[in-house]
Amino acid sequence: MAGLTLASPSAERRSYSPRREMWRRYRRHKLAVVSAVLLFILVTAVVFGPFLWRVSINDIDFNATLQGPSLAHPFGTDDLGQDLLARMIYGGRISLAVGLAAMMVSVIVGTLVGALAGMSRGALGHGLMWLTDLFLSLPQLPLLLLLIYLFRDGLKAAFGPEGGIFILIVLVIGGLRWMPVARLVRAQFLSLREKEFVEAARALGASPLRQVVRHILPNALGPVIIAGTIDVAAAIIAESTLSFLGLGFPPDTPTWGRLLFDAKDYLDISAHWALFPGAAIFIAVVAINFIGDGLRDALDARRVI
């Protein structure tokens, strides 16, 4: 077997630990490194911002409405004189939290469906793939709007205005984005389950669950991580779109999309109000997408770079 023969001397010289090899590959993607730094700064600012910038998000000040950036208000103020920096820090927490949580939902659902479809050899696999294809052809934004329209009030009553909408948005965005993950996982499972090491585990008496959890899943994780990263960006866009249409979080919750929605009627007199949150969404999304691209270079072992 391949593992018994010694690697050739030239190959031995270039062997790194897997983690170092991954970092070496990731580093070659310059924009991905820059993006990682940018995203780190953004996350730090959003998480620790409120401890440094102690201005309340809903202090109304009619003497300072629609002001441009100044020392007192670095990002300016809105039509009620509320400080935009404070509102953006607050909104960023929600946007990033929604992105992460929705990604978790889509990755968990996608991995479950993909693993089931990849392991079953009968009707179950075909049925699940039909379901995946059906979901892929659903019009996502209209359905998202429809679901929020129908379930908004019920969840608001059960979990409070912000909590209810958060749960709803996360579940719905995650629930409509699991299909690519499921397809990837299924494709990986179909090839991995026939490999010798899985056969060896099977011969040693490993139960199907143990084969999946200990042997197949860890090897299928690379593409899932990449897809998950890009899902965070897609979920941030989806949440901002909902808020921008005025159908996301309640009006007094300043998510980035909501800030843009409020700002769009004042574009001619105070452009800064729209530009700062829009730029924040753009930076977060582009950084996450570039990180996903860098991870593809780092984790896809077949690609030689």
Binding site: P142, L150, L245, L260
Partner: protein, 319 residues
């Protein structure tokens, strides 16, 4: 070929049924029902409310309600808008052409940008042009449509004052002037959608071209002495377009999502803005019908993609 198209049509039916089932389940699971207002309204006697419920079959078992609803949808009996006081199908038919016009021209422009750029980038991989195109494509699909729309309004309407930012249906003037105005007001919404689509399409085209361009038959074509243009256009592109069609078909739901946003920003009277306004005014029959129309459009465009697929790759239609 005809048989292939027929078979595709037959495959589209179950997926439409599946989508209708999903929509109906969503509606049936939703808390509250359309007649809850009647129960609390003191002017409506309870027996009238009950009679209405019986008439609309709200107390029937759920599978019967699904078949009733499906039969009504298939007959074109889509209900009555609570707000505009017209039949839902008239309302949608009024607005559908605008949406199709905006989406169609956006797709066309996106293809006109993406195919040349993607093909040129793939013939010179890792060149400066390729790297710039790649970076722009990345930025393009990371910019959400609502932000591009706002940026366009800021630059072209407010700062430069070149283009109108509100789309109007009753333009005055006649003949050429009117046509010019029509085009001028559509530029921004169409470009917002087109650039977003072109960004991801460019990446698809480039990677599909790169997959094909290294194959042996391309080397053979070159060895026969064919010119670069001929090799790329007739030998490489036709095969490279096959996966591109699939990927574009997978993007179609996202296109409709983008259309809803642009219609909302530029106040285009299409079915996307109809959806938003009827959600805001709790007009359930319109919301359901528009969502269903969007689903039908997705299935229909997938069907077109399948037909194109069969034309590009005759082996598929023979199977």
């Amino acid at each position: 070929m005809r048989q292939y198209i027929l078979r595709r049509l037959l495959i589209a039916v179950p997926s439409l049924l599946g989508i209708s089932l999903v929509l109906f389940t969503v509606l049936a699971l939703a808390p509250g029902d359309p007649f809850s207002d009647l129960a609390t309204n003191p002017n409506v006697p309870p027996e009238v409310g009950l009679a209405l419920r019986a008439k609309f079959g709200l107390d029937d078992p759920i599978y019967l309600r699904y078949f009733h609803w499906l039969a009504a949808m298939a007959h074109g009996d889509w209900g009555f808008s609570f707000v505009s006081r017209v039949n839902v199908d008239t309302l949608i038919l009024q607005r559908l052409p605008t949406t199709l016009y905006v989406i169609g021209s956006a797709q066309l422009i996106a293809l006109l940008i993406a195919i040349p750029v993607g093909v040129y980038a793939a013939t010179r991989p890792y060149s400066i042009f390729d790297q710039i195109a790649n970076t722009f494509a990345f930025i393009g699909f990371s910019l959400p449509t609502f932000f591009t729309g706002i940026l366009f309004i800021l630059i072209f309407s407010i700062k430069l004052d070149w283009l109108p930012f509100v789309y109007s249906t009753d333009l005055n003037g006649t003949g050429l002037a009117r046509l010019g105005e029509q085009i001028r007001q559509a530029i921004m919404p169409v470009m917002v959608l087109a650039l977003f689509q072109a960004a991801s399409m460019t990446r698809f085209v480039r990677s599909a071209m790169l997959d094909v361009i290294r194959l042996d038959y391309v080397t053979t074509a070159r060895a026969k002495g064919l010119g670069q243009r001929r090799v790329i256009v007739t030998h490489v592109m036709r095969n490279a377009m096959i996966p591109v069609v699939t990927l574009i078909a997978l993007q179609i739901p996202a296109v409709f999502g983008g259309a809803i946003v642009t219609e909302q920003i530029f106040r285009i009277p299409g079915i996307g803005s109809l959806l938003i306004s009827s959600i805001l005014s709790n007009d359930t029959p319109v919301v359901m019908a528009v969502t269903f129309v969007f689903a039908c459009l997705v299935v229909f465009f997938n069907l077109i993609a399948d037909v194109l697929y069969g034309w590009l790759d005759p082996r598929i239609s023979l199977r």
